[in-house]
């Protein structure tokens, strides 16, 4: 499997989150999920997408720690590397 860059992960995460409702332009790494109105059900869907695309398995306890879009991108890219 080829190496995935953090930028690629970030683009994919933003694309996925935008499909859940928030405007793509409003999604930046510093934004919290709360600010974006992204809830735990959305995060489960994000985890499913991430596992499909990068083979990274995110469990409930992983997700609980995530507060911002940047947190999610960090975690996913560190595990995908």
């Amino acid at each position: 499997m080829s190496t995935v860059t953090k930028e690629q992960v970030q683009d994919r995460v933003i694309e996925a989150l935008a499909s859940f409702g928030p405007d793509a332009d409003s999604i930046t790494p510093d934004k919290t999920f709360e600010e974006l109105d992204i809830d735990s059900l959305d995060l489960v869907e994000l985890a499913q997408i991430v596992e499909d695309d990068y083979g990274v398995v995110l469990k409930g306890e992983d997700m609980k720690e995530l507060k911002t879009v940047g947190d999610a991108v960090e975690l996913i890219s560190s595990r995908a590397a």
Binding site: S19, G21, D37, E45
Partner: protein, 403 residues
């Protein structure tokens, strides 16, 4: 027992194969428009993007979307302007469905079969649970009183409105948003009804006609704002009519076939009229269940004669299903909305597709063309709306037009 609290209707909304809006439903039906094509009645004019945000739309099964959009219209007409005009804990919500979020079930099941249960959407359950529409409408309008779904197949919408009226009459609520919704016109849903030979093979909905050979599936929703009469008057609401009576019985006979003597169905009509304190001779119009199946239309005709006696022959009896098909769990609510408008416009909408009379079915079914409705009692016109269901559930609503 003290005098019953009266229940008035202050807002109506509908999304049906005849379009988005209660008025459109009424006007197009009266004009004789048949919205059935390709063996079903689909709400093709409904576009989620016109009514819901991306987030709302993707978290609601189509059935709940239709209910929410119908509820928006009803609440706007009632003049609720953003929040209910009562303590929110005194405003209930009952939304019926016959089938629930079957499109969501199918998508989830495809994901399960193709990719394993780990790929089922976490939104599957909250989208397909049969109470999802009631929950969505409650959240949409901030209703915190008693809120739930109600399930009795094709009588569900009628039961929802009846239960809502009781909630107000008993004093548990001052207002209730009540109705029904259905969006089960999928290949699977279609196949399920088709194999039980319930559907018209040619997709012809022609209630009471001798050639009737099954019903046509339809989708849609309708919602009504019901309020306690004195409270509605006190806030200066426009009163569209009254939910004057409710009667409900069961056949205890067969899974799908109606009880052939028509007695349990006629008892629902009788109980509803008694509840309303109205004699059979006070009824000006019957909005029939009229599904276009051999058995229903025959049993309903018998039931009307048993309950109304000779008067049954003197008043118009018509079926909205001839125009939009059978909306299953939404039918009772959509038909209540249609009945109210027929009464207020003093017009008997037509039973479309009616050409060959059945000698056994000899009431006035208003064939093909609407006509003025004769108000038999001089006061507010009274109509009854019947709903009968697989499982043997019978519901009659007595609706009075505006004073």
């Amino acid at each position: 027992m003290s005098e019953k609290r009266r229940v008035v209707i202050t807002g109506i909304g509908a999304v049906t194969p005849l379009g988005v809006g209660a008025r459109r439903l009424h006007e197009r039906w009266v004009a004789g428009v048949c919205a059935i094509s390709d063996r079903a009645g689909r709400a093709n004019e409904y576009d989620a993007a016109e009514h819901l945000s991306v987030k709302e739309a993707r978290r609601l099964d189509r059935s709940a979307q239709l209910a929410v959009v119908a509820s928006d219209e009803a609440v706007a007409e009632a003049g609720w302007e953003g929040e209910p005009p009562y303590d929110s804990f005194r405003v209930g919500c009952i939304v019926a469905t016959g089938i629930g979020g079957i499109q969501t079930v199918e998508i989830g099941h495809d994901a399960f079969r193709e990719r394993g249960w780990e790929r089922i959407s976490p939104l599957a359950i909250p989208m397909y649970m049969p109470n999802a529409s009631a929950a969505a409408v409650s959240m949409r309008h901030g209703l915190r009183g008693e809120t739930y779904g109600i399930v009795s197949a094709c009588a569900s919408g009628g039961n929802a409105i009846g239960a809502a009226a009781r909630m107000i009459q008993y004093g548990d609520a001052d207002a209730v948003l009540a109705g029904g919704t259905e969006a089960s016109v999928t290949e699977f849903g279609f196949g399920c009804f088709d194999t039980m030979q319930a559907l018209s093979p040619g997709g012809n909905s022609r209630p009471f006609d001798a050639r009737r050979d099954g019903f046509v599936m339809g989708e849609g929703a309708a919602m009504l704002v019901l309020e306690e009469a004195e409270a509605a008057k006190a806030r200066g609401a426009t009163i569209l009519g009254e939910l004057a009576g409710y009667g409900s019985t069961a056949d205890a006979h067969h899974l799908t076939a109606p009880e052939p003597t028509g007695r349990p169905a006629s008892m629902a009509i009788t109980l509803a009229l008694k509840d309303a304190g109205i004699a059979p001779e006070g009824v000006s119009y019957v909005n029939a269940h009229g599904t276009s199946t051999q058995l229903n239309d025959a049993a309903e005709t018998v039931a009307l004669k048993l309950a109304l006696g000779e008067h049954a022959y003197k008043i118009p009896v018509s079926s909205l299903k001839s125009s939009i098909g059978h909306l299953l769990g939404a039918a009772g609510a959509v038909e209540a909305v249609a009945t109210l408008q027929a009464l207020n416009d003093l017009v008997a909408p037509p039973t479309l597709g009616y050409e060959v009379p059945d000698p056994e079915l000899d009431l006035d079914y208003v064939p093909n063309v609407a006509r003025p409705l004769v108000n038999v009692n001089g006061g507010a016109p009274v109509g009854i709306s019947n709903s009968f269901a697989f499982g043997g559930h019978n519901v009659t609503l007595v609706i009075k037009g505006a004073e």
